[in-house]
Symmetry: C2
Subunit: 342 residues, 2 copies
């Protein structure tokens, strides 16, 4: 019971602790230094470096014009850890109950129903759509500014029970290096995440070097209201659009207006395969990087059901990155995992 | 009849000739040159220059941090002429009829109903929602790439009956100067238009210097399909979201994630007042510029009903720009209007 309350206290008040962030800045590189020091030598690292080297070589067959150098990454499980799925949704049960009191039909939404039972595994199983429903209900009526500033305050102090550090330090170091390497070579880097954009973009600049206008994600509806004589945007309690799987390419198109040439995703939910294929089929040089969560010791091992993402990688020529074999470090060296829960 | 067919031929195949573009690049400025040569001396020009000068002066009360320098402009009637509303929608009647054949309920949509009657004034009166319905029906089933490339080809050759030049030369010269001036001072410039983004962004970089990822607008739904073994995005025939009036602040928030500090709009439909108030209420230095269409000789005169936008300008401290008095040139000097139609 004490431990349960401890967890509540330390994971308070945000739906999205699966949004995991890291505070340290990104690496800068000179032409001579190693752009990817946290990557082991191997096929994955070599393929990335070849692709980028060719992309900037004018006249070569792999050349990509600067305006086409668009790189899009999933966030949870691709740029930062998403495991274990946090019990952090529990503390917002009170907010969700208030919303259900006002709109009883919400209790039928799968994510909300699972949350009201306190069944975290069932919440996770409802996917991005279920999470979005929970988030929308929890922040119903609050202004956009309130939600952002409240979230930023909370996420800085919360610590991951597994790693013992704030969630803001749990971005993957090799991926931060990759983002920096791409930017240094004229790529515009974007996030496209199934998590609610309300949270995803709050610290994206600080953590990943990606400004809020380059974050795409599941959106919760807002409307214009006048409060205390001032125009504000307030959340309406409704989900606007869930951005996952086949929803990712349309969301990328709406935000960017062209196909990415580089996409990063991860195994675990089949959520990124559509946008990876979308990039690969663009009709020009393209790179799709699929992170395989095969490192139970340092992070987590969770292939997706039936190995669908790995099968797609083989079929559509995605480059699989083994966390265990291809990454020298997963996080900053000061961060180590406690033994995984059974 | 001949004249009618001439118009058909010369305005073929695109719903959105109210999307008006100009091919020439934007001005570049040194510190010593006049940043706004097409603006007459006067209160509007002075206010713009004061605001921008203060915005970059660190330590001053008008200072705006670089990451907050977000400027958003309506397009039609603000960056380029939207009058006369073109008869260019007529040629796509065949496409719309095909769509109605497949989905008879479409004939009840006000914009489509007006189009099928050939009543252009009635089409215009249905506003952004009506236009969006027409566009969605006309391009139903086509891929995003087909629609973009087809549109780009057409818009380069079409000529405005009133000005006798391609629509791509009908951006407002003073506004192109303003965009350049803002960019030169570290502002990020965006378009937020009620017109379908499918067209708006096709030439935004070439004409306004604004890349496609910084164009917000009414969206037509797309979905992932596999055609000839290749992933494409295809239009579904449905409108995704109409971005106008109170819909503009939520769309800006979704795309950018923060409030603009500078917003430009125009009289004529009350479409921009919500986003102008949204900027003015941000809680820091802000500028809202409202273009008054009062220049029948060089362009057009069309106050909105009851003068609502001008009343809002007075109440909420928008800066009104008189096209007649504040602009030395409206278009590039080679472009002159024929006498307006009665």
């Amino acid at each position: 019971m004490l431990s349960y309350r401890w967890e509540l206290r330390h994971t308070v008040a945000s739906v999205v602790l699966f949004l995991v962030l890291a505070t340290s800045g990104r690496a800068h590189f000179t032409a001579d230094s190693d752009p990817l020091p946290s990557w082991n030598e191997g096929a994955a690292r070599s393929a990335v470096i070849s692709f980028v080297t060719d992309a900037v070589k004018e006249g070569g067959s792999g050349y990509i014009a600067p305006e086409d150098r668009v790189a899009v990454f999933d966030m949870d499980g691709t740029l930062a850890t998403e495991k274990p799925f946090p019990g952090a949704v529990l503390p917002i049960i009170a907010d969700v109950k208030t919303a259900v009191g006002k709109h009883p039909e919400l209790a039928n939404e799968p994510g909300i129903a699972a949350l009201l039972k306190g069944d975290i595994a069932a919440v996770e199983a409802t996917g991005e759509a279920g999470i979005a429903q929970i988030a929308a209900a929890a922040i119903d009526g609050r202004s956009v500014d309130e939600v952002t500033s409240g979230y930023v305050k909370e996420v800085r102090t919360l610590k991951s029970p597994r790693y013992g550090v704030p969630y803001t330090q749990l971005a993957y170091r090799p991926m931060r290096e990759l983002l920096g390497y791409l930017e240094a070579n004229g790529f515009q880097t974007w996030i496209c995440s199934g998590s609610p954009i309300a949270y995803t973009r709050a610290l994206s600049k600080e953590v990943f070097g990606i400004p809020p206008e380059r974050v795409i994600g599941t959106s919760l509806a807002t409307r214009v209201e006048v409060r205390d004589g001032r125009v504000v945007l307030a959340y309406t309690g409704k989900v606007d659009k869930v951005v996952d799987r086949d929803g990712k390419p349309p969301a990328i198109h709406l935000a960017i207006g062209r196909r990415p040439v580089f996409v990063g995703g991860n195994v675990g939910g089949f959520g990124d395969v559509a946008m990876m294929r979308y990039a690969m089929d663009r009709g020009g040089p393209a790179f799709a990087l699929l992170i395989n969560h095969d490192d139970a010791a340092r992070e987590a091992a969770y292939p997706d059901k039936g190995g669908d993402s790995l099968a797609a990688a083989s079929r559509y020529h995605f480059r699989v990155v083994s966390m265990r074999d291809d990454w020298k470090n997963v996080f900053d060296p000061t961060v180590t995992a406690r033994p995984p829960s059974p």
